[in-house]
Structures are given as structure tokens and as C-alpha cells.
């Protein structure tokens, strides 16, 4: 555990597991898979921005650009039986869950790229038939909790899922994703307090991108490190470098191990940086409220670049391979398909084609499924 949770660190050290970071046991293939997933998440975002600009999509796009390492790194170590609860800025999480079992493996859990695209395009092929908007999807079958708009509002459900799993003899962990601003909600406190009392395996990931819409962190919270919230509940509070997929992987795996072994919840704060405005409607205004230097500085540590560097150091990327795709640092207007591995582009194209082919749900569906019918 990080310095943020002294006692937990001690506990782990006692067990002799303190030294080796989980990411050190990742194979070359696994590392390259992580790298490719970063590209996939980035491409998804960039492509959606382009599609939206062409007027093909409705709804607000909350870009995950520059925050992909958090999703990729946190999901990579999960079991298929684990649950997740992503929110507005985590769209790629829906198809990244369990993708390690094979991008085209039909029997894996996690939503398919087709399902996710159908949701984005508002089509029938979405689980939930696109009744709720963009990022409010999920799937019980795939162990993804459906968020509402109310920030932090799914943490209690995550705790309940964990409780029910334990009662049924399971051993899952549940990962919830939250912006740092969302931690101000009362439900954040109530749910974590409850989860901590019952030592439920719920991990609260805080994506600290230092802005909540147009409000800077110092007006959202009296503490700079949101991992400090953990102290009030006596649970581990870890801090990860959200730009470094390996560090996220390591910290989340520590929390997962802690949770899965029955020791209860943890908070993992991932320090990151919001690439654009809050949503795509806000890109222009964001220039006004955000200092330009901050934007420059943030962009300079692109998670793809950070990962590439590590892979080069590890000797997993060499020569031409290391420079063949260079999406990092490029915005949606700058990047082209050539900046991405062709299989990434092809994969998403498949999803988009399915979305375009899928019909709109029928109008009458608006009045359906208010209640489960009992006949």
C-alpha cells in the first residue's frame, strides 16, 4: 500500500508481499495488450468526437481522452466474475471489461463493441435498448452496474452487489469509478461507511482530473489528495499515477487483493488530467476557466506515451514497432486513422457498422417496462 495507508502497508509487508509490484509479473504479450487497449480506448473517443462533429450522434460526449490508463489499468486485473460501475467519463470501460479474454471472444463477459456503439447511436441493439442515455448503460449479464446521472449514486448498489455475492458464496470485487468532484455527495460517504462496516469488497476509484466541470479542486474539497477520504473510514487509500497504466494496475491490484481477501473496501485515487472541456459542449468555455499552461502541462504526459516508454525500456517495443503508431498528444482534429493500429480501427468500425444497421427502438417502447408484469 502507498504511504496513504500506513497500517495496511505494514500488514502487507508482514505477509512478505510488499516488495514486488504486480505489474512486474506481466508477460510481454500482456504488456502489449495493455498498450493496444490504450489505443482502442483513445480511438473510440477520438472517433466519437469526429462522428459527433459530423452530426451523426446526439447527446453530450464526456471525453475520456488522456484518462484511458485508469480504465485499462484498473480493468486488466479483474476476474470475469467481478463487477464494475463506470460513469460518464468511462465509456471505454463498457467494452474493456473482460476484453483480455479475447477481443472477439463471444463468450467473454463485458459488453461487445457492437452493443456499446448501438448505445451511443441510440439503437435497439444496445442492452437496455437505448432507453437511457449515452453513458447510462450496463448489463446485469455482464456484471456492469447501470449508473444514473446522480454522481456517486451507484456506490451503494456496488456495495449491495458485493454483499449479495458474498451471501451466495461468491468472491467478487466491485470497482466503482467516480470523478473527484463526485466525492462531495453524501451518498459517497454513506455507501463507503456501510461497505467498510461490513468489509465489503468495494473499490472506489477516484479519477482526480482536478476539475469538476468548471470548478477547481480547491472549491470541491479541503484535501488535495482524495485518497485521504479513506482515513475517515479506516480503509486503505492509495494514490496512483493515472497517466501510467502500470501504476494504476499495481495500485488497483493491491486494493483488489485487499478486498478479495475479506479485508474490506479501499479507495484508489488516480491523479490525471482532463484533456478537453467537461463535455464537448464545454470545450470552448473551458479555455476561459482553465489556465492554458495547465492544459499544456497535462497533455505532456499522454498515457500512451508513458506506456510506450515503459515498453521500450522493457525491450518489448523495438525499432520500427516503437514508432509505427503515434496517436499520443494528438487531439481528435489532429489524429487520423493512421495514428492507430489497424486492428483497433477495424474493431471499432465493426461496432459502428452494427450500430448503423441496428434499428431505432419503436416509439411504443417508451411506455414499456415501467413495471415487471406478473401474470
Amino acid at each position: 500500500m502507498s504511504a496513504k495507508s500506513g497500517s495496511a502497508t505494514a500488514e502487507r509487508a508482514e505477509q512478505g508481499q510488499g516488495s514486488r509490484r504486480p505489474s512486474e509479473s506481466l508477460t510481454r504479450d500482456e504488456c502489449l495488450e495493455l498498450f493496444k487497449q490504450l489505443y482502442l480506448a483513445r480511438y473510440f473517443d477520438i472517433r466519437l468526437i469526429k462522428e459527433k462533429k459530423r452530426g451523426r450522434l446526439r447527446g453530450t460526449l464526456y471525453s475520456s481522452h488522456n484518462q484511458e490508463a485508469i480504465l485499462v489499468g484498473s480493468l486488466f486485473g479483474l476476474l470475469s466474475t467481478d463487477w464494475i460501475s463506470p460513469i460518464h467519463r468511462d465509456m471505454p470501460a463498457f467494452f474493456l471489461k473482460d476484453i483480455r479474454q479475447g477481443w472477439d471472444n463471444d463468450s467473454r463477459l463485458g459488453m461487445t463493441i457492437e452493443e456499446v456503439c448501438c448505445q451511443v447511436w441510440g439503437k435497439e441493439g444496445s442492452p437496455g435498448r437505448a432507453r437511457d442515455n449515452w453513458s447510462h448503460i450496463g448489463s446485469k449479464a455482464n456484471k456492469i452496474i447501470h449508473s444514473t446521472s446522480m454522481l456517486a449514486g451507484t456506490i451503494p448498489a456496488a456495495a449491495g452487489v458485493a454483499y449479495a455475492d458474498r451471501m451466495q458464496g461468491g468472491n467478487c470485487v466491485v470497482l466503482t469509478y467516480n470523478g473527484e468532484g463526485s466525492t462531495a455527495q453524501g451518498i459517497f460517504h454513506e455507501a463507503i461507511n456501510y461497505a467498510a462496516v461490513h468489509k465489503l469488497p468495494v473499490i472506489t476509484i477516484i479519477e482526480n482530473n482536478h476539475w469538476a466541470y468548471g470548478t477547481p479542486t480547491e472549491l470541491e474539497s479541503p484535501v488535495e489528495d482524495f485518497a485521504d477520504r479513506a482515513k475517515g473510514y479506516g480503509i486503505p487509500g492509495l494514490i496512483a499515477d493515472g497517466q501510467d497504466v502500470f501504476d494504476v494496475y499495481d495500485k488497483v491490484m493491491e486494493a483488489v487483493e485487499h478486498a478479495r481477501s475479506g479485508k474490506g473496501p479501499a479507495i484508489v485515487e488516480c491523479k490525471t488530467f482532463r484533456a478537453y472541456g467537461h463535455g464537448d459542449h464545454d470545450d470552448d468555455r473551458a479555455m476561459k476557466y482553465r489556465p492554458a499552461e495547465e492544459v499544456e502541462k497535462g497533455r505532456s504526459r499522454d498515457p500512451i506515451a508513458v506506456c510506450r516508454q515503459r515498453l521500450i525500456e522493457l525491450g518489448y517495443l523495438t525499432g520500427e514497432e516503437a514508432t509505427s503508431f503515434m496517436a499520443e498528444g494528438k487531439s481528435a482534429t489532429e489524429a487520423t486513422n493512421e495514428d492507430f493500429p489497424p486492428e483497433v480501427v477495424a474493431y471499432l468500425n465493426k461496432g459502428i457498422e452494427a450500430a448503423i444497421a441496428s434499428p431505432l427502438p419503436a416509439a411504443e417502447e417508451g411506455a414499456m417496462w415501467v413495471f415487471k408484469e406478473n401474470n
Binding site: 446485469k140 446522480m150 452487489v161 451471501m167 454513506e190
Partner: protein, 337 residues
Amino acid sequence: MAATTDAPVALKKNYLTALKEALDEEMQRNSLMLCQGEDIGRLGGAFGVTDGLQAKYGEDRVVDMPISEAAIVGSAVGMALNGMTVMAEMQFIDFISCGFDQIVNMMATYHYRTAGEVNIPVVVRGPAGAYGGGALYHSQMNEAWFCNSPGLKVVCPSTPYDAKGMLKAALRDGNPVIFYEIKELYRKREIEEELPTEDYIVPLGKAAVRREGTDVTLVSYGQNVYHCLDAATELEKQGISAEVIDLRSLVPLDEETIFNSIAKTSRVIVVNEAPMTCGFAGEVVARITTKAFHLLDAPPSRVTRMDTPVPWVKPLELHVLPSVDKIVNEAVRLVKF
């Protein structure tokens, strides 16, 4: 052994015992059911509705929760999502306001949002109602908030038989149900009754005619049913025959039973103890006028709480609430209309 008899002694049970039996039997029947709430385990609940359940089913299935209505409801939603059935107690229904968002935005809409993939068998129940000197925060009937939040069933039994049968039905329904218990009826001797020994349910969505009559229909639920019955007795003395309908279930609403009665009486008063504006009494009046206007000989009427909170001190409390007198006067006025 003073008096012996072969016939078994009829054991009458009160409303609270009926609820407890419902929970006990459902917990027995469904090993994936759990009860959670504040002080429901060791203490057995503020009123004792869950008394004995923790000893029988263990701390994992009868959980003493932190004072966190939002966590009580919100975690129940997660449990339901993951295969369980949950009874979530509000210590007083007044505190449901503290878990409000989780109820109306998370729980109520889950089935809808998932196009039916997810069912939420959660019953949020708790003691409700005024007339006991509980003041603003221990007297509420706030059912209208939930009736206006699509996806929730809302019910309110007034007898031990219904309390048991409806709670069992609610727990098996598969939809989230807000279950209003009338705390002033919990231990009321006059309404105790024998309950069937075999398993039974009272289906949600069916009203009951508590008394037949021909001149005016009194539609109500909860405690006010008894005010209506007393009013009917009083009206009879004045030569007016009142029919009394106990709605039992607000959402879904049994319009047929109401309209059938009005077909006979052509006059109707809806009585409830919630604030008037946007309360359920107004909804019933609106349903009647929009759908059964032709049956009416007089304007449908309502006797409700005034648009005020429930004050503490008795004369003030009674001043703002429906009473037998207010119902009688209104009925007399209507019949003369």
C-alpha cells in the same frame, strides 16, 4: 384448566404481528431474502416488527444498518440486481426523504432503464401516519411523492389480514414497493383478527369494499378507513347510506371497484391524511372525473389534511387532519347537493 373446550380458541392477531409473520414466512421461504434497517436486529425494530428475526435468521440476513437511509435503499438495489429480495425498513417513513434520490432515480427506474433485464424486488416499508402526536417528522404520509415517481408500487394496508397478505405479495412482486404501515394500527385491539394458517397473499392493485351503501361512496386507505366507517355509522343514523372503499393499493389503482360503487351512489368523497395539493385524494378525484363523470350527480369531494405539516400539540394536530365529523359534514352536504 378452568374451562375446557374442543373447539380451538380463535387467536386474534394485531396488525404488527401480521407484518412480523409475513416477514418470517417469506424469510423462511426464500433463502435469498434479507431484511435491513436501523435497529431491526438486536432490538427487533423501533416498534418490534422484526422482533425475533435476527435470532432466527442470523446477523447476515437481518442486518442492523448504520443510520443511512440512502445506503439502506441503495445497497438493497444492488442486492436485488445480484439476485436477492430485500426488505428495507425506514424506522419512520418520514426518514425516507433521506434516501429519496436512491428510491426515485435508482430503484424506481432500474427495470425501465434496462428494458426489463433487471427486476428490483425490494420492499421499502415503515411506520407512517399522524393522529399520534408525532409532530412534523413522525407523522407523515408522503405517498404522493412516490405515486408521482413512475416505477414504484405504493400500497397501504389497513387490516392485519391485508398487512400480512400484502407484505407477502409485495415481497414476491418483483417490483419495488413502498409499503406504508400505519403505526397507530400496529397494536390497535379493535382491529385484531384471526389470520389464515395457510400461506396466502392479497394481490396488489385490488381495493376492498369495507361496507356497502347506496347514497355516497367514501374512498380511503390506511387509518382514514376507520374514520370513514365511523362516519358511515353516524350517517346511517341520519338516514344516509354510505359505502366505504379501502383502496389498499394506490399504484396500481383499482379503478373498477371505485367506479362500480359510484355507479350505485353517484356521489363520492375521497379521504386521506396527506396534504391536499397533489395528494393521492386529488388523483382519485381526477381519475373519477376524467373517466366516470357520467356517473356523478354531485361534485366529487375530498377530505384531506390541510396543506400544512402535522403540528405536535393535539388540538392543532386534529385541526388540520380529517376527522369523522368532517367526513360526515361533507357527506351530508353532498347528499343535499
